[in-house]
Structures are given as structure tokens and as C-alpha cells.
Symmetry: none
Subunit: 260 residues, 2 copies
Amino acid sequence: MASEVGKGRVTAAVLIIGDEILSGRTQDTNLRDIAKYLAVHGVDLAEARTVPDVHEEIIAALDALRTRYDYVITTGGIGPTHDDITADAVAAAFGVELYEHPDIIDLIEARVRSRPGLEMNAAMRRMARVPVGGDLVRNPVSGPPGFTIGNVFTLAGVPSIMRGMLEDVGHRLRGGAVTVSRTVRVEGSGESVIAAPLEAVAKAHPAMSLGSYPFFDGSLYGSNLVLRGRDPDELSATIIELVYALKSAGIETVREIDAP
Amino acid sequence: MASEVGKGRVTAAVLIIGDEILSGRTQDTNLRDIAKYLAVHGVDLAEARTVPDVHEEIIAALDALRTRYDYVITTGGIGPTHDDITADAVAAAFGVELYEHPDIIDLIEARVRSRPGLEMNAAMRRMARVPVGGDLVRNPVSGPPGFTIGNVFTLAGVPSIMRGMLEDVGHRLRGGAVTVSRTVRVEGSGESVIAAPLEAVAKAHPAMSLGSYPFFDGSLYGSNLVLRGRDPDELSATIIELVYALKSAGIETVREIDAP
């Protein structure tokens, strides 16, 4: 893996938030995914903690970790229900207020408009709350984004969404090697159809990281294929090969959604 | 979020020791197994930490956890190699020496005798080391036992062996009341619709723990609502109220999936 660059080892901690992990109901897999992702970016995962959905516990763990390590990544507790209190705890730890981010409100409104009979409600508005001074972390999968403030990144707990959000974290890390990321969007085809061409291209380009992030927004389904690597030229070539392989497999609707 | 009933909640923490977890090379599954095991014994898993194979880090985490919770269960780092330093760290935390336990030496000798060409070596002897004042934790699977000292149980990291050792832990725990769990399944409605009725019922029953766990299996979506508490009668009443509240909110497909 990469690489202590210059003087310093760059370190991170993961804070897993959720009663469902501590009760044994849910098997956490985010820790492993984050560890691997950080390694690619030259960041060492130094510690992990799992705490319940309790305001004071989240703040105490967050403060212990964010003062000791370069970065903290939290997972879980950013949904619409009353036990989703991560945003409140992060804001309290940084001593700032929460506000409804207009971009997230716009996202939710667009979604609501697309489904007859659905109306914006208080639960949905909860998911638009971001600490003052924070930035958004893009969510390429479904639903509202995560956010970052200071050295803390607050991501979803659902593994597929968490992995998608991670793609918008790496480029902000003072890490080892810098990676470039581009996204190919497939609509109307499921992962079972995408898997074979994706795997073939992945095998031909071992230096590239290829991830598939399926989405379903209530009517439209498909997958965002995120490609990441250190060499922009190989990345461009890989994108072209992947689109060709997908089309050859009979997948019609393929397009790049964040071309440079 | 859940809520302590009566006088005595009994709490535990898990300390996962191992670079292989923090590097992402190994997927931990012990936390979930321990959580489920403790729940059956009426002990709440209140926190978990994962630390690297570093003497001072293990001691610091162990001291933080063993002073705060009724029990600590450690996993990992009790094998024969140089990076297996859990026994050293536990002994140091309790301020005692390690000694070679005669029962474990006997076990290893019996094993060595049964395999021609094998000889007792220093690596094997490492696994016989137990803190002075500690007791053994039986290993019904393979290899040497774990140990316990004070309120700490030190178990293997290999999942099958860890689960076997756990069976010799439960009867030593001063357990609280056993909690009962039941699940209501909602299909075809998302969390944004479920949130309000769920929250209303949660507020009316602070002694119950209510969690919402959304699912999407490719075509069907919805959420499993898990209710947990110590009083089976209140749990039954809460289930009825919740189903009524969900139906009143216009949610059609609601049913209990693990009725007693």
C-alpha cells in the first residue's frame, strides 16, 4: 500500500454509531471497506469505536478521536427517524448549530415532486440538517448527502450508500498518493447484467479501482460505476473500454455523469 | 437510545485487538456474536473498540473500558507469534506478572506427544502464559484456553474458537433481566412515512427500544421495526399500538414476522 509521504503518518479513526451494531442485530461491514479505502489513499486506520445512539456517548467518542487522529469517519445515524441523532451530536461537538441545507431541501423536493401523493414532511427535513460551517459529501446512490466539518466526515450507515459517499472523501484527505475518480451511470440494468463486463475490465486494469453502486429511486433503477486510479490517462482509457464492454453486453443507457 | 429499566443494567464492552481488522484484511464477526450472546444473558453491550497490536494502546483501551463497564471481553492476540501480546497487556493493566499455567502446559504436551516429530517450543509456551490471579476460560474447539482476571475475559480471535470459549463465560456473568425482541415488518413504505408513527409510540414507551432497519432487495422495499424490552407484556402492548399507528398513517402492509 502507500506510503508514509514526507514526515508524517496520516491517521484516521472510524466511529460506528448505532444500537443495531451493539445489539448484534446488524453485522458491520463498513469498517473493513473504510480501512481498505483509506489504505489506497495512504491513510492508516488507527482505531475504531462503536457507540450507541446516545447523544453524550457520540460526542465523547468523537472528541476523543478527532483530537487524536488526523481524520474521523462516522457511519450511521443520519436517516429520518428520531434515533438518527448523529448530525446533532457532531454539531454539538463542534459547538455549532444545525441548519437546513438548501441544496438538500432542493434534492428532497425534486424527489417528492416525482412521486404523486408524497409530501415533504418533518422526517424528510431532518435529513437536510447540516452543521453550520460544514460541507456536503456527495451521495451517488440514493437519498441525501453526508457532510464534513473540521476533520470529521459523517456518512450513512447503509453499506452501499456509505461506499458511494466514500468516493467523495478521498480527494479531501491529506494522504499519500492522489487518486482521480470518474463515474459511469447505467440506467435500466441491474448489477447481475453489469457484473461480467465490469469484472472483465477490472481484471484488465488492476491499478484501477472499480466499484458498482446500485440505485433505486422508486421508479428508476440502475448503477453508478465509480472508477478510481492514480493515472488519469489510464483512467480515461478504462472508461472508454468499460462503456464499450457494457454496450456490447446489450446495455443501452450508459453515460458518464461527471466527466472532467 | 434504549433505556435502562429498574435498578440494574449490567453492561459490557468488547475490545477487538488486531492489526488485521484495522487494515481491512479481516472482516470481524466476533462483535456481533458476542452482542447476541450477551443479550441472551441480560447483559447490554455498551461499547466496542478496535485497537492495533500495540502494548500501550491495548492497556489504555482496557483501562478505559474495565473501569466504566461491568465486564470487558477481549478478542485476538493470544496466539503463539510475536505480535500476540494481549496476555502481556492484560497482565500489565492489572499490575501482575504472567506465569506458565501448568494445565495449559499439560495440554500442549499432550498435543505434542500425539504428533510424532513435533516438539514443545518457545512459541507454544507463549500460549500457556496467564496473569497471576487469573482463571482459565475453557476452549472446547482447539488449542489452549483463554483466561479471565478481574472483570476481563480474554478470548481467541478466530471466530469458531471465540464462540466456543464464550460458552464458558455466560455462567460467570451477573446478568440482568433478559430482554425480549419482536419484529414488525412494513413493506412498500419508506422510513420517511414510518418515522412519525414510530416516534410517537417510542415516546409513549420509553422502556422499550424501537429501531427501524430499512431493506431493499432489488424490487421490494420497506423496513423491519425491531422492538426490544424486558417486560414481555409491555412489549405486546407496544406492538399492538405500533401496528395501529402505522395502519392509521395509511401504511397497508404491516405484519409481525417473529411473533412469540
